[in-house]
């Protein structure tokens, strides 16, 4: 036989009955109408807030962008100078090697191996 024992939360039976009796079925039509109107209003406010945020971000971007671009351009220019100078210094001995007859021969060989590897020389 199934027995129901009350475990941790001891509650008063009389009060349970009273709360159960007090529960009513409430008409929903008016409540839902008001809720849907409030949701529509909240949605309008939300989208206006979003548009205002986008506008503020746009203004901020337009205001900051020229100085950001200028500083980026000068930084890139500085880095470019450093890189070009370094590459120029480092590549001088290699440049002499590449334009020598041995350099040409090695370049041709490498090119041939690449063509062979990719199958470009294969007959169709």
């Amino acid at each position: 036989m199934l027995t129901v024992t009350r475990m941790a939360n001891e509650l008063d039976d009389r009060l349970l009955d009273l709360f159960s009796e007090a529960r009513e079925t409430l008409p929903s039509a008016e409540f839902m109408q008001t809720f849907l109107a409030r949701m529509e209003r909240a949605r309008r406010v939300q989208s206006m807030r979003r548009m205002a945020l986008i506008a503020v971000l746009g203004v901020l971007a337009a205001w900051i962008m020229p100085s950001v671009l200028a500083s980026t351009a000068s930084a890139v220019q500085a880095v470019q100078h450093v890189v070009v100078d370094a590459v120029g210094e480092q590549s001088q001995p290699y440049a002499a090697l590449i334009i020598s007859p041995a350099g040409w021969a090695v370049s041709m060989l490498i090119g041939f191996l690449v063509l062979l590897r990719t199958g470009a020389l294969r007959r169709r």
Binding site: L11, L15, L18, F19, E21, A22, L26, S28, F35, A42
Partner: protein, 164 residues
């Protein structure tokens, strides 16, 4: 209204009765209860993306509603007097008993009242009440024990007054 809003509207339609009943026990004022319920549903609509599990929707919504009521109650706004005219129209009836219950609940401090209502009206365990209200578990237990005794005393007093 887009599809998401229509779906949320349907969820509200299904849950509104439970949330409004809960808030009516807490506030004793139908219009205030409905207003708080509306606020809870709107808050739910705005922050539904933060809900991790769809199965937790009911509990999450109940927590929002309770928090709105606690905010309102702690703001110190006075509570409405008992609807004596309505009581007079229904001397010994369900409505009268409901009014007695609501009047007795209104005599309890806010924290005690919310614990009692969540336990008796919603059937929540002590642990769930503690999680929902952020009141420590031990305090929830003592609120329910002492609140039940006080509520019985108050209802006995109302019963005597109204010939129940």
């Amino acid at each position: 209204m887009n599809g998401d809003d229509a779906a949320y509207g349907e969820l509200v339609r299904r849950r509104q009765d439970a949330i409004r009943n809960l808030l009516r026990r807490l506030t004793r004022e139908a219009s205030l209860a409905d207003d708080l319920a509306q606020q809870a549903f709107i808050q739910g609509w705005e922050s539904i993306r933060t809900l991790r599990s769809p199965g937790a929707f009911g509990g999450w919504l109940r927590k929002l509603a309770v928090n709105f009521w606690l905010q309102h109650a702690r703001s110190g706004r006075p509570e409405v007097p008992l609807e004596e005219d309505l009581r007079a129209e229904h001397p010994v009836s369900t409505v009268s008993r409901r009014l007695d219950l609501d009047a007795a609940l209104a005599q309890l401090p806010h924290d005690v009242r919310v614990c009692i209502v969540l336990a008796y009206n919603e059937g929540m365990s002590h642990g769930e009440i503690s999680q929902t209200t952020s009141i420590p578990l031990g305090t929830v237990k003592s609120h329910i024990a002492r609140g039940s005794v006080r509520l019985r005393e108050l209802l006995h007093a109302y019963g005597d007054t109204h010939g129940q």
